[in-house]
Amino acid sequence: MEHPLLTLADIRKSFGGVRALERACLELPRGAITALIGENGAGKSTLVKILSGIHQPDSGEISFDGTAVRIATPQAARALGIGVVHQECLAFDNLSVAENLFVNSQPTKAGLVNWPELRARAKTILRELQADFDGDVPAGRLSIAQKHVMQIARALTHESRVLIFDEPTASLSQRECTELFRIMRALRDSGCALLFISHKFEEIFELADRYAVFRDGVSVSAGRVSDVTSDELISLMVGRPVSQLFPKAEIRPGAELLRVEHLSRDGEFDDVSFGLRAGEIVGLYGLVGAGRTELAQVLFGIHPPTSGAFALAAGTSGLALVPEDRQGQGTVQPFSVAANIALPNLARLAPRGWCNAALESGLAREWIGRLGIKARGPDQPVHQLSGGNQQKVVIAKWLARNPGILILDEPTKGIDVGAKAAVHAVTTEFARAGGAVLMISSDLPEIIGMSDRVLVMRCGKIRGQFTRAQATSESLLRAASDA
């Protein structure tokens, strides 16, 4: 048995203080499709970025065809023969398909592009892939599915032997998926090693030969797909006992504070209806691309819906959103803790326009105490704080406004256990005081532990509603991933 084409051993990678990969191992044999499985945050994208040459591992070994290698840049990855089909297409919309395939690697003669050869080679590759578009079409006109095929074609121009597909079917129709799988099988049969990241179990069992499961940055298990069932995969993915890690208090829900009726936004989510009651924590679970964040953005008012409506009950004092990206959306990094907390509260802190440094400091100190924010003081710039503490600042600034409804989008992503617990405690406190919470999370134990009810979204629609008793990892994951 020949050795695998690509092997990763004991890869470690951290960003800031957060460990993304720890003792990660992976083997990609030739002529096989390996599915990489894991929850959001399990380390899959980091692994892909390391293989693409975008990030460097802190430690560990990568071997290609038996030889140890270092993949320092995307160029190096391509030179080795590793091709990646990313989720978001890095395509040049202003160039033709044929040209996209050969960017910075065109066949040339004396500095001039040899167009006939370029077009001929593009034609050959596209024909091999049985693509339904030809090389002269401007890439901007292709659909996402077609752009994926174009990316595969580009990978093939470098005679890639390892092809990585990062959630390629996220926005594809059934027919487009079938077409993509046909191409992938053909590539496998020609001896390539394929790595395929997906959450959809039906696809995994239909397409993959082998599997590798990651959990919290560690490789947990690997083997042949034929030797395992989907239930076993799910329990490998989830792993932890869902116990009383979270302070779940029994709160009787009160009046309805938010009513959402048939809310839709073209291309993002469709016909969403639900209600939020005072004292309730409703979990919103789903996989990448399900439309949860987009829903939250519409509720907060960033974008208008295309149809449907939602309304806050009379007397409810506003809806707050703690966004997913705490550095880009949640905080103004150069500002101090106090300035960040003050930002949505300026009308209250400075009613006649005059900023009052003492008031702001006081408010900041209050929340530093209540949430246990580890900062030197209210004047410390927020970018110096750890992820968990920055998240506490974002939560503080909205809680200071006393909203009736709080939407949290992945509130504990990438933060340490202690900060997680604090966030959960605050959320429970908020509900106890009569607020309604919509918690968007991809962390199953968190959702199950915190929520009174769980809504599951998939492809823009609500696919399931689970009571606290009904919500198990298996049932939620199944509802979120069945194609």
């Binding site: 975008i54 840049t73 995307p74 160029q75 890095l90 395509a91 040049f92 919309d93 202003n94 160039l95 033709s96 040209e99 960017v103 910075n104 690697s105 065109q106 040339t108 500095g111 001039l112 592009v113 167009w115 339904d132 578009f133 030809d134 002269d136 079409v137 401007p138 901007g140 006109r141 292709l142 659909s143 077609q146 993002e268 987009e294 953005q297 960033i302 974008h303 959306q329």
Partner: protein
């Protein structure tokens, strides 16, 4: 699915539509003023537009690379003055050294812009605003505020752009040659294709090993070199060199680019489109006196053209699913 099969690219489609529009404009003016379409008049139109065409082609490269060059006219004026002073000092040297001097000087001036934008990543607007006044002021330093007049220019110096072939001036031929060269290079040269890629998607270009900053540097240097040569041509054509020549002309150049289909967001633009844009503006400029509108309306029209072009372009731009794009 059918759209994906279509062979005509968006830019070719746009250029065709714009060519039709320009033709319609030309015909309209000719219908109102038959004298407009005589060979003499058309040759005059080409001659008037020649320098604008060359400058706009250079500016096109810069805009495609996601930059902008406001120092274009100042560069032209400075090189023009250098050419005139050189010629005054060595009138027997002939035209070739003058051309070489203008080309190299212009290229160096452009390269200064390019280096600041590439290596220090300074915003192009600030850089070229600064170099614009540095270059303009330097003209004064070189010339002491004095003019170089026709009688101080050698015969060769003046004759070069005026020579006629088939009724069309050498200047027009030069601009047509430059336009043709651009058309060829933009399609065939690997570096030019890399420029297209870098302007279209700088992030993806980086992943493919293309340095978008370096592309900008090359664009600015080329643009500067063209501006330099046009400096000599301008000074020769108008037979005078002084500090304020071509003052504000960069705005006409930008207007011509924008109306010629060069997207302000980068990555898109064709030589044909730019030439058409210049002709369009040239036709309007030439027809103003015929209609009785004073030439003073030219700048206003340029401004209107720029605004219409950018408004249309902003509406067409596809928005990714980000909330706001951080500006500046």
């Amino acid at each position: 699915m059918n759209a994906a099969r279509s062979r005509i690219s968006d830019s070719a489609r746009r250029d065709l539509a714009f060519a039709a529009l320009t033709l319609v404009l030309f015909l309209a003016v000719t219908w109102a003023f038959p004298g407009f379409a005589t060979p003499r008049s058309v040759a005059g139109l080409l001659d008037d537009t020649a320098i604008l065409i060359m400058l706009a082609l250079g500016q096109m490269l810069v805009i495609m690379a996601r930059g902008i060059d406001l120092s274009l006219a100042a560069n032209l004026a400075l090189c023009g003055m250098m050419a005139a002073l050189f010629n005054r000092a060595w009138p027997d040297a002939g035209v070739a050294p003058v051309l070489a001097l203008s080309l190299i000087a212009g290229g160096l001036l452009g390269a200064c812009n390019g280096l600041l934008v590439w290596k220090l990543r300074l915003p192009p607007i600030v850089v070229t605003l600064g170099t614009m006044s540095i270059y303009r002021g330097t003209i004064y330093l070189l010339s002491g505020g004095e003019w170089v007049n026709e009688n101080e220019m050698s015969r060769d110096f003046l004759a070069f752009p005026r020579g006629e072939l088939l009724g069309i001036s050498a200047l027009s031929w030069i601009s047509l040659a430059v336009a043709a060269a651009f058309g060829f290079v933009m399609q065939r040269s690997k570096t030019a294709r890399d420029l297209h890629a870098a302007g279209g998607n700088p992030e993806a270009a980086n992943y493919s090993g293309i340095d978008p900053g370096r592309m900008q540097f090359l664009a600015y240097t080329t643009c500067g070199a063209i501006a330099g040569v046009c400096g000599y041509l301008w000074v020769s054509r108008f037979a005078v060199a002084y500090t304020d020549i071509a003052l504000g002309f960069e705005l006409s150049v930008i207007a011509a680019c924008l109306i010629g289909g060069v997207a302000i967001s980068g990555g898109a633009g064709t030589a044909a489109g730019v030439v058409l844009g210049c002709l369009f503006i040239g036709i309007i400029r030439s027809s103003l006196p015929l209609v009785g509108i004073s030439a003073f309306w030219q700048m206003f029209i340029n401004g209107a053209v720029i605004l219409v072009a950018v408004l249309l372009s902003a509406r067409q731009r596809q928005f990714k699913r980000t909330i706001l794009e951080a500006r500046a």
